[in-house]
Amino acid sequence: MARHWWTVIGFVVLLGFLAFGLTRDPNILPSPFIGKPAPEFSLPTVLDPEKTIGTDVYRNQYALINVWATWCVGCRQEHAFLLRLAESGAIPIYGINWRDNRAEAMDWLQQLGNPYVASGYDADGRVGINWGVYGAPETFLLDPDGIVLYKHLGPLNRAAWEQDFVPLINGGAKK
């Protein structure tokens, strides 16, 4: 009599696993760099190929590294927020212009405004590979020692900034 009820029990167990699966976000991919020094790099800047931007420029302060490109819809979406964040003076933002075209990138900054202290021009995406970039936009939070504290996938907005970035900065500052 009872031997048929195993089907019900088996399915209930399966439901448990599926419900668990829903509680996690498949988009969270652990970045191997979190808690480690950010990869070294040196890139010509977008606006002036003669100048370079590299690991040293953002030492001794908290900084954001934002990976962007003109072809990326999410970057356009987060741009307004980045501008406001830069204006507020909360944190310096450095850009890595990833797999893009210099002329278009310059137009973009001119037309939409430039929230970046400077942007490195990573045309062949090599720096992006070193940083483990999956796609644009991505935003890294670095502490004053150049350690990666956090990596945000997708467009940045106020909610994500306040929830994920601010506590890390405040927490680190108190130490």
């Binding site: 448990g16 696993f17 699966g21 829903l22």
Partner: protein
């Protein structure tokens, strides 16, 4: 206006589905024939309104009405019309609409073609299908309305994912869904059988043609998907054991077991509770597949937008439908002890083995697909299970199945007369051993244990499947020919043989190389020379591309020219590979452009794939066999037994 009409039609369809799902139960309970009949009319009404909604959405796409969010996100002004239509089911909301349209079409067909089934039984079937429809319509209206407006409307849309801009993918999802959803009919029949207590063999007979038909579509759908992945993804693989592929493959495996166990239940009245459980499981796996794809619970190359509310809704729906069915099964099944017995060497035994092996295969694919989820739930680790695991795990039950199948289809019910099998199968066995060993050595110059097993198995299946048809063709005039069902069985199994040979040869003798190539350069692969003549820029309606012209020569003699492309779609800016494929009956020569290495030099992937077409050909032959079996005379005549 049109989107609002569509939205309204969906709401009306929901109310129709509610009538269809509730009133027939009332009718049966009160033994009121007109209430039972109302369900049939509600099913017609539901179909009409869902069809109106579908036409409305298609119209919005064709008119490029970007005030509809779904259209704005998945279409674009320059998108060719055919892809504007196929974009309707190119993403979540629209594919749900297609799902419901197909469900209501199946229901309509059941209403139309079930005159020989008792009214009470049909009433149950229609009601169960109606309740399923209620679930999906609610899901669409509450979480995934394709008619949601967007304000302000963007001037142009975001374009359809370029991967989906392909004729293969325009027809693959509908085929797949017709198959997937078709198993809902088998499910509804099983539930109706348990509710009405009609648990003799008749329900199996009523269900068989429906189940086989659903299986045919699923077979074609999966084959199309595999073919699409082969030429569109640019890697030259034909099956990736991706969670979404597995989601369609599990119902296929369970459905294949189901059509065989239905045969035993219909003919001999055996395996009754097992068949019921398979009917429930097959459709449950279809639903689970939908859940896996729609909830984004597993990361996959097919990733659709993910939204946890949708996930919880489908999970709740899954829980209600499947738990309800399994509880009903657990209550009913103990009464179903079989009376008839069978001997060891009999068709029953072989079909039992078939079921056991297919179910093992289903369970293995299931475990492999869900293992990452389970591992993370238990100890938080992220693991991934790749194709190598699946290939080995899948071969374990499948290899014995291939050999047993050739014997099984020649056995008779109850008890096989002694010695009759050996006499009958001697010739195919000799042919299989000879050809199976000779073919790899003669044509490809290499032997290996797995290759020999695979090619002997493939030839064995083909030879033993042809046995009955050949006998029938040689029979004396005036004697009865083979029934269509036996033709169907022989042809479907022949398809399995063709498929097996294709898989064996392409896995063993595939040659693949990635090399740098610039105009004027030549690569040699498997005795063929590939010369890049030129590179040029070409423009499509919504993409620009770099196209190579590649001449193929064999022993210096020109045999063909290919034009592989690397396309950049203008709106989404992503790159797509359009492979160039030179196909003959016994091989494909596959050329795909990789990345530009600078200086007009490209990395080029060249592959030689022997017998790869046989994989899809085998699947089509299986489907043809199914078609013959499903249209056998005994399903077309009125109730006799």
């Amino acid at each position: 206006m049109i989107p609002e009409l569509g939205h309204f039609a969906l709401i009306l369809a929901l109310s129709m589905a509610l009538c269809q799902g509730i009133l027939p139960f009332v009718g049966v309970h009160k033994n009121n024939a007109s209430f039972m009949a109302v369900g049939n009319w509600a099913a017609v009404g539901q179909f009409v309104f869902v069809a109106i909604a579908f036409v409305c959405l298609t119209t919005s796409f064709l008119q490029s009405d970007f005030s509809v969010a779904y259209v704005a996100n998945h279409s674009q002004l320059d998108l060719p019309d055919i892809y504007k239509v196929s974009a309707v089911w190119g993403a979540h909301e629209g594919s749900l609409l297609l799902w419901v349209l197909i469900l209501s079409s199946w229901t309509l067909a059941v209403v139309r073609f079930s005159k020989h089934v008792p009214t009470e039984f049909t009433a149950y079937v229609v009601a169960v299908l109606g309740l399923l429809s209620v679930g999906f319509l609610l899901f669409m209206l509450l979480t995934s309305n394709p008619f949601d407006r967007l304000f302000p409307a963007p001037p142009d849309g975001a374009d359809l994912n370029p991967l989906l801009q392909d004729p293969g993918l325009a027809i693959h999802p509908p085929m797949l869904y017709v198959g997937y959803v078709g198993f809902s009919v088998a499910f509804a029949f099983a539930i109706a059988a348990m509710l009405s207590g009609n648990l003799d063999r008749r329900w199996a007979k009523w269900t068989r043609p429906w189940t086989t038909t659903a299986w045919i579509f699923l077979t074609i759908g999966i084959a199309l998907g595999s073919w699409w992945a082969y030429y569109e993804l640019g890697w030259g693989g034909w099956w990736f054991w991706d969670p979404v592929e597995n989601a369609s493959f599990m119902p296929w495996l369970a459905g294949t077991a189901l059509i065989h166990s239905l045969a035993v239940t219909e003919k001999r009245g055996l395996f009754k509770s097992w068949t019921l459980l398979l009917a429930i499981s097959t459709f449950s796996l279809s639903l689970l597949g939908t859940f896996l794809v729609r909830s984004g619970i597993l990361v996959s190359v097919h990733a659709f937008a993910t939204d946890p509310t949708r996930g919880y809704f489908i999970l709740a729906f899954l829980a209600i439908v499947i738990l309800g069915a399994l509880i009903l099964f657990s209550i009913r099944a103990p009464d179903l002890d079989s009376e008839a017995g069978f001997k060891l060497v009999s068709r029953e035994t072989f079909l039992l083995l078939n079921n056991v092996l297919l179910v093992i295969a289903t369970v293995l694919v299931f475990l492999g697909t869900l293992a990452p989820l389970v591992a993370e739930a238990i100890d938080g680790s992220k693991i991934s299970i790749g194709p190598p695991w699946f290939e080995i795990a899948f071969a374990i039950p499948m290899l014995p199945l291939v050999f047993l199948l050739g014997v099984g289809m020649h056995t008779v019910w109850r008890q096989q007369p002694q010695g009759s099998l050996a006499a009958k199968l001697r010739i195919p066995a000799i042919i299989a051993l000879l050809l199976g060993v000779i073919i790899p050595g003669l044509f490809y110059g290499r032997f290996g244990l797995l290759v020999i097993i695979g090619s002997v198995g493939g030839v064995w299946l083909i030879a033993s499947s042809l046995l009955e048809p050949l006998r029938s063709l040689r029979r004396e005039k005036g004697t009865a020919g083979l029934p269509r069902a036996v033709w169907g069985m022989s042809i479907a199994h022949l398809g399995v043989g063709v498929f097996t040979l294709g898989v064996t040869m392409v896995s063993a003798f595939n040659v693949e190389t990635d090399q740098a190539l610039s105009p004027g350069g030549t690569i040699e692969v498997a005795g063929f020379e590939f010369e890049m003549r030129e590179l040029r820029n070409v423009n499509g309606p919504n993409y620009s591309a770099i196209e190579a012209s590649i001449d193929i020569r064999k022993d210096g003699e020109f045999i063909g020219n290919l034009h592989p492309q690397k396309r950049q779609y203008l709106v989404q800016q992503n790159w797509m590979t359009e492979a160039g494929i030179f196909a003959t009956w016994n091989k494909d020569l596959f050329v795909a452009l990789g990345d530009e290495l600078g200086n007009n030099t490209w990395s080029v992937r060249v592959q030689y794939k022997p017998l790869i077409r046989w994989i899809w050909l085998g699947a089509l032959i299986m489907a043809l066999g199914g078609l013959l079996a499903a249209t056998d005379r005994r399903y077309r005549t009125r109730e006799t037994s």
